[in-house]
């Protein structure tokens, strides 16, 4: 082999390695951008889950009254909630969809009767790509007892949001 040919082969080999490095770099960059986009989407969904949960916690339609016109956080008035369930279907598209968007909100009693479950809001998204579930516990106050203090059960609220 002549010297020129050797140098040509060497140059081609160097270029080949160089392009392989560039190729791996591009693949790595693509994976990085892809995972960043997914992380961003997850973060947005998580933010929406937090927003929705906060709205449920402070929803006056179901929140217990705390006396003197105040409210009791992390407490759900069962009477108010049952009334809310009745009026919700008429206002779901006009008002509550703007508050909760595509989500499902359920209240599960734990003590004393763990078989009690209420679906407060249910607007599923048909072909959702991801779902985020958050929970918070709550006292479930039954104010229907007229004489004496209200019976308070323990339960939790599940907030599922879809994207």
């Amino acid at each position: 082999m002549k010297r020129g040919q050797i140098q040509m082969t060497e140059t081609i080999a160097v270029l080949f390695i160089f392009f392989i490095l560039i190729f791996f770099g591009l693949i790595f960059y693509y994976k990085y951008v892809d995972s960043s986009i997914k992380a961003n989407q997850d973060q947005n969904l998580e933010k929406r889950a937090i927003d929705t949960t906060t709205r449920v916690i402070f929803l006056p339609e179901i929140q217990c009254g705390g006396g003197s016109g105040g409210t009791n956080v992390y407490c759900i008035d069962l009477l108010k909630m049952e009334a809310f369930q009745k009026v919700l279907p008429d206002a779901i598209d006009d008002y509550y969809f703007n508050l909760f968007s595509f989500a499902k909100i359920t209240v599960q009693e734990v003590y004393p009767d763990s078989s009690k479950l209420w679906v407060v809001y249910d607007k599923p998204k048909k072909d959702f790509t991801s779902k985020k579930v958050t929970y918070f516990s709550a006292a479930l106050q039954d104010t229907s007892i007229i004489a004496g203090s209200p019976v308070t059960s323990f339960g939790y609220v599940t907030v599922e949001v879809y994207s």
């Binding site: 407490c75 003590y111 939790y156």
Partner: protein, 175 residues
Amino acid sequence: MISSDVKKGQMEMVGLVVIVLLVTIAFLFLAQFALNDRSDTHFFARKQLATSTLSGILQTTVKGCQPDESQLLTVSMLLQDCAVNRGGNFGYVCGGKYSCDFLNKDLLPTFLEGSLDVFKQHYELKAVLVQDPEQPLVLMTSNGGCKRQKNVDTSGDFPLSSGAGLVNTVLLICD
């Protein structure tokens, strides 16, 4: 001939430097990706879950405790009774147990197994008399509690006054 060899050597050195630079840049990029700030994004969920769970538990009422079975007692009242009668021979009797036993063995496990265990959360619930923190009135943990966990959030203090002194209750939730 010597000058041509020197030139070739210089060229190779430049090539080597370029490769080292490329590799360094690649490693820096990799390090940035690997050490990317994966800050804890679940702190809000844990914090509000801890606060809501303890707040909910303390407000819950229990019926059927002696001496007056028709009386509704809140968990807070049972805790206060437990602090006053921790010896266990006086005070409310629920389900055949004095308040401390009833809280530790029946009531609180029911609450926590039905909620935090369902959400697969590690937790540590502790109620202590402030002047005697070494002997807790209530201590409930899941899988060793939160001592060795990195992401821990607290419900904050829920103080209750009792005849025996101040009772402080805290719920820790961790991942």
